[in-house]
Subunit: 140 residues, 2 copies
DNA sequence: TATTGTTATACTCTATAACTATA
DNA sequence: TATAGTTATAGAGTATAACAATA
């Protein structure tokens, strides 16, 4: 179980609500991954492979070091969930792709991770639009 | 750098906005901790010690195993940021407390973690109240 | 010479199981 | 016997540095 990220000095109600949301979201994500015996990082990488892509692209997208991706992909490969195919255009590079089992597990994960869906579902369509607009504004 | 938790099947704009918020929040938290050479878990535990408390209370509050807290507190202690005092009421138990350096570093962390403050600051007072209400409703 | 990716290494987080000391 | 916390152990995430193969 991951530790929650806060609380810092939650000087306002809105900041506290943001913290609570992030805390519950992260815990739910981790729990959904654990149901499938995946680490959060493994579930995350698996979820990025709707299209196959290179190690470097994954690292940049996820904001971590390439050697980190190497390790995660290695474990996913050992689980039979992804393959590392040669890139015909550049023999240094590899293309990571989900296997059929990887597709299946990714789909099961999307089903198991109900938090965001459930949370949004508690709001009316108008409220959903309001929330989206407020979050977008807050994100700058 | 921690990997972002998604995207899952972000079937709506609101779900996508929630994901983006969580992603940016988590990255900002980690970056603020890294500025002070702390891990996110260390910054988190340090932030929970405005009042001193026992190992078990920390573990329950953070939703992780007690042995995990033992390790984190051990490292914080080695850094001179917390102490483990005997509990006069129960000689099995310990009370973890921030040192003066721990107080100082925690304060610097609260200053360095600007994300939630900045994000909320982009909204008017009315908008802040709306956001709070929507998030509370979404959290159920 | 620069880039893609891996390997080697080290540290942290995390849980489980077994243990000590105390209640 | 039950509880608070630690220790031992193992697997996973993460970054840095050094490296190989290719561009």
């Amino acid at each position: 179980m991951a530790l929650p990220s806060g609380p810092v000095t939650t000087s306002s109600e809105a900041e506290a609500a943001l913290f609570d949301l992030v805390d519950v979201y992260d815990r739910a994500y981790e729990a959904a991954a654990a149901e499938l015996s995946l680490s959060p990082a493994q579930a995350c990488v698996l979820g990025r492979l709707d299209e196959r892509r290179g190690m470097g692209a994954l690292a940049e997208e996820l904001g971590c070091d390439a050697s980190n991706i190497t390790q995660i992909v290695m474990r996913l490969e050992a689980l039979g969930l992804v393959t590392r195919e040669p890139n015909p255009r550049d023999r240094r590079a590899r293309l990571v792709a989900r296997t059929r089992r990887g597709d299946e597990l990714n789909h099961r994960f999307a089903t198991a991770f109900t938090f965001a869906r459930t949370a949004v579902g508690r709001l009316s369509p108008d409220e959903q639009d309001q929330l989206t607009a407020l979050l977008r504004k807050a994100l700058g």
